[in-house]
Amino acid sequence: MEEIERSIEVEATLEQLDYVMGLLEETLEEAGCPMKNSMLIAVSVEELYVNVVSYAYTPNIGNCKIRVHAECEEEHGSVRIELRDKGIPFNPWLREDPDTTLSAEERQIGGLGIFMTKKNMDRYDYQYADGENIVTIEKDW
């Protein structure tokens, strides 16, 4: 079994989004993650990262640590992505799911990304420890 681990710490801003997503996609590619899974994982990580950017430190700016850990063996593998911030305690998974059956006019604009993430990931978790929000997602293939 092969293991790949990458860690970065960035200022949680939208300017860093490309860098964060680049690191993630590079790691997934190296681990042999299928394209389709790769896109769904990326959408999920973008959502969680943008959440940190938008809410964690408002109106200030703080850092976000991202750790990507992938394991692979032949065509199977899994990835675990962890995002840490020192912002206000916030559990993204408690957000209410949007109603996906309403008409266009009645649709709520929020909550879609977290909803997609819950649907697509095999495991998700949240902890608050030592002043840090720790959000993790895991996906197998």
């Binding site: 989004l17 896109m39 959408v43 649709r107 879609l112």
Partner: protein, 87 residues
């Protein structure tokens, strides 16, 4: 209009502006070609939803063309496929 590349949070801002400038009074049909778009984040979905609402209010139609299968899956899991028109 055609979008190419990643419809991520940053691109969604520009896309939203383009939509706002394009969908003005008198527009009755809007086609969005997504053949070269393989990635749509939730922020991109929001802009697409707003475009659909705008076209509804203009009593016009909106059609998404050449949507790739991975992106279509995102539309399906969010229920967007029920409120959008594809060709």
């Amino acid at each position: 209009m055609a979008i190419a590349g990643r419809l991520d949070t940053n691109a969604a801002v520009d896309f939203g502006k383009a939509i706002e400038e394009t969908l003005v009074d008198g527009v009755t049909a809007f086609t969005l070609d997504m053949a070269d778009c393989a990635y749509v984040a939730s922020s991109g979905l929001r802009v697409i939803l707003n475009a659909q609402k705008k076209m509804n209010s203009l009593q016009g139609t909106m059609v998404l063309k050449n949507v790739v299968s991975d992106v279509m899956e995102v539309f399906e899991m969010t229920g967007f496929s029920d409120i959008l028109t594809f060709e």
